[in-house]
């Protein structure tokens, strides 16, 4: 169970103007599959990075299964059971797909074990296992390998930051299946940041973040109807519209 208590995050620019990216977010996540959605710039990725320990909140507290992890490093949180799939997968010169999957697993895996993890995300292992994780791989391939790393870790909490970002529609269509399968096969909690209706459709609960604030959180059946074609779209337009008035 993940608890966020009064999480705020501020940044200051050069002229010392501070900007609130997240405002007083309080949230308890104990379901299997939770989607975070909302307009761009609403603070979704920031919140994910705060959970993974990449960013430190200005104020507030984070608890994982009752343990306060607010001051824990990225490494300690990873060891405590948090995995984080980057929106833009990181590339490494020299490290191969197998190297990274093994690092993620925390042990040397047999070839067939790596193959299983890669085929779960729709990659033919034979073609990928020895390839360097560099720019020669497509955006879709990098995303799949990123997801395979999270699967290799098998932690109690897995966070995916917009897996659909930066990949073409066809790649995304097949990526959806990966998440549908993962929802049925993985233990623990999956938090996925997404704008995609098909992802929201398989969520147990949906969190809506807008302008740094938690604007809605509840079961999919309640939250989703408020988003489709209405609230989510208009909330992004509101600032624009008010500027025109």
């Amino acid at each position: 169970m993940l608890e966020l208590k009064n999480i705020s995050y501020e940044v200051s620019d050069e002229v010392d103007d501070s900007k609130e990216i997240l405002r007083d977010i309080s949230l308890t996540i104990d379901d299997h599959f939770v989607a975070i959605t909302g307009p761009n710039g609403g603070g979704k990725s920031t919140l994910a990075k705060i959970i993974a320990g990449i960013l430190t909140p200005t104020s507030g507290q984070i608890l994982l299964d009752g343990e306060d992890i607010t001051d824990m490093s990225i490494t300690d949180r990873a060891r405590a059971g948090i995995s984080f799939a980057f929106q833009q997968p990181v590339q490494f010169k020299g490290l191969t797909v197998k190297d990274l999957i093994c690092l993620a697993a925390g042990q040397e895996l047999k070839i067939n074990e790596v193959c299983d993890l890669l085929s779960e995300v729709g990659l033919c292992a034979r073609d990928y296992i020895d390839r360097e994780l560099n720019g020669k791989l497509s955006g879709g391939e990098l995303k799949r390998i990123e997801i395979a790393m999270i699967r290799a870790r098998g932690t109690k909490l897995s966070i995916f930051d917009e897996p659909e970002a930066g990949i073409d529609l066809w790649s995304f269509q097949s990526l959806i299946h990966v998440f549908e399968k993962m929802r049925d096969s993985i233990d623990g909690t999956i938090i996925i940041i997404s704008h995609q209706e098909r992802i929201l459709n398989i969520a147990d609960k949906i969190v809506v973040l807008s302008d740094g604030k938690l604007t809605n959180y509840g079961p999919r059946e309640e939250v989703l109807p408020t988003l489709l074609g209405t609230a989510n779209a208009t909330s992004a337009c509101k600032p624009l519209a008010s500027g025109l008035e």
């Binding site: 990449i54 990225i74 020299g94 690092l103 870790r153």
Partner: protein, 305 residues
């Protein structure tokens, strides 16, 4: 050969025992042992220190090991080794030098290697430099490799220097005729106050000759690295050089790749990149449970692999 020498031999040539095929092991300035085969002859030079390695035309799937071990502090030597690779031969040559210096004097080995590849000959040349020792004596290596490639010949040179060499000034030259190919892969890591200079000079003289020079290096602590490469395109040819360095701590890296196109059909490319380890790479590995130090080691090991 004592235990120290045997350990060094393992580091530089991966040898646990006497190698198969032809070999010449040199220890502390003298020949330790030698073996020749029906196709590969090794002859000591009479006018200066060094050997001639003569490989018969058509020799395939054979290898030559010529490791050098220095375990006597303060020993300084310059050795001339000439390789003559016959037409159509396809061989692997493993060189390498290891120094164990536990004294206060400078130990130095300069290997001047000249390769003559006849028509369509193929060579894979592996060279590893390694130093160790608990004294204050410096380990110095100044290798020179000059390669003459006849029509259709190809050579891949893999050189590695990861540990223990305080100062190195490495010069590699290639002269290529028609359809010849020369590839160099160099991996260097320096630490402490080490200094490593490497310079490549490849002349693409024949039509359709090509070269690929790839250097990857890591400079740590207060070490200094200098990389220069010049590719001369004197005919219709392809040349590519790539220098990629990770800089850490207070190290200094200087990369100066140069291209000289002297023919309208010469196609030459160079790439040079120097930078510290990207923060996002460290963060990614830390989200997998590695500490920052472990993440750094993994990134460096992968980079130099």
């Amino acid at each position: 050969m004592d235990t120290i020498q045997k350990n060094i031999l393992k580091e530089v040539a991966g040898l646990h025992k006497v190698p198969e095929g032809a070999y010449n092991i040199r220890a502390n300035g003298k020949m330790d042992s030698r073996n020749t085969t029906a196709n590969i002859d090794i002859v000591s030079k009479e006018d200066k220190d060094g050997i001639d390695i003569i490989i018969k035309p058509g020799t395939v799937n054979e290898s030559v090991h010529i490791p050098v071990v220095l375990s006597e502090s303060g020993l300084q030597e310059c050795v001339y080794n000439d390789f003559f690779i016959g037409e159509g031969a396809d061989v692997t040559i493993v060189a390498g030098c290891g120094i164990h210096n536990c004294g206060v004097d400078t130990s130095k080995h300069a290997g001047i290697h000249t390769f003559h590849l006849d028509k369509n000959a193929k060579v894979r040349y592996v060279e590893k430099h390694y130093g160790e020792g608990d004294g204050n004596g410096e380990n110095v290596m100044d290798p020179v490799t000059v390669c003459y490639l006849e029509e259709g010949a190809s050579m891949v040179m893999e050189s590695t220097q990861i540990k223990g060499i305080d100062s190195t000034d490495r010069v590699t030259k290639g002269y290529l005729k028609k359809d010849a190919y020369f590839e160099v892969k160099e991996n260097i890591m320096t630490h402490g106050k080490q200094v490593a200079k490497t310079s490549f000079d490849v002349e693409l003289n024949g039509e359709n000759s090509s070269t690929n020079v790839i250097s990857r290096s890591v400079a740590r602590d207060k070490s200094v690295q200098e990389f220069t490469s010049t590719i001369q395109g004197n005919n219709a040819c392809h040349g590519h050089s790539e220098c990629d360095a990770i800089i850490m701590d207070d190290a200094v890296v200087n990369a100066a790749p140069a291209l000289n196109a002297n023919n309208i059909d010469a196609s030459l490319i160079h790439e040079a990149a120097i930078g510290k380890i990207a923060g996002e790479q460290l963060i990614k590995l830390m989200t997998l449970g590695l500490t920052e130090g472990e993440a750094e080691e993994q990134i460096i090991n992968g980079f130099l692999k």
